[in-house]
Amino acid sequence: DAGVTQSPTHLIKTRGQQVTLRCSPKSGHDTVSWYQQALGQEPQFIFQYYEEEERQRGNFPDRFSGHQFPNYSSELNVNALLLGDSALYLCASSPGLEQYTGELFFGEGSRLTVL
């Protein structure tokens, strides 16, 4: 049973560029959340997708956007990259609300470096 998979694992961008990160949830999960973890910090909630819609959003600017596809996979897009966007981006999946246990299953993350 494959867990949460993310791609790419590492990438380097320059300021002002745009980036797209991808996530496939664990089998049987239909909810995907994205977190940003700056070096030496805790993960910070970006947003959550369920039924192809953004259900919740953390305190992140509109430069951060996302999408969920019918197969439950998801993308995180960041426009106009800033140096401060350098971080490990974690995707987490969970079963639907009716099966809610609060537990999130995390992928290995995509490490973004902005130069």
């Binding site: 909630f45 969970s94 609060g102 999130l104």
Partner: protein
């Protein structure tokens, strides 16, 4: 709003010694509580969780935690640590009955020395 405070940023300990990592939370509603572990350059792995029922929760790798509602604490313990337990440990809170969103503490770096 919910918040999580991990009282120690770093905990050094010798191999085979016991360890306790402290976590306090604040919430006006019922919460779920979690401990996650993160090894270098990896994602987060669930150690254990408290949803309801028994306040003593046992997890993987010999870890356990006790939920104390009156003290709003959820401290993580292990009676004998190994070198391989060296990692970052995060306490997290989720809202009972709410969406699958977690708020994390700042983390505790556990360093196990031989």
């Amino acid at each position: 709003a919910q918040s999580v405070t991990q009282l120690d940023s770093q905990v050094p300990v010798f191999e085979e010694a016991p360890v306790e990592l402290r976590c306090n939370y604040s919430s006006s509603v019922s919460v779920y509580l979690f401990w996650y572990v993160q090894y270098p350059n990896q994602g987060l792995q669930l150690l254990l969780k408290y949803l309801s029922g028994s306040t003593l929760v046992k997890g993987i790798n010999g870890f356990e935690a006790e939920f104390n509602k009156s003290q709003t604490s959820f401290h993580l313990r292990k009676p004998s640590v190994h070198i391989s337990d060296t990692a970052e440990y995060f306490c997290a809170v989720g809202i009972s009955g709410g969406y699958n969103k977690l708020i994390f503490g700042a983390g505790t770096r556990l360093a196990v020395h031989p």
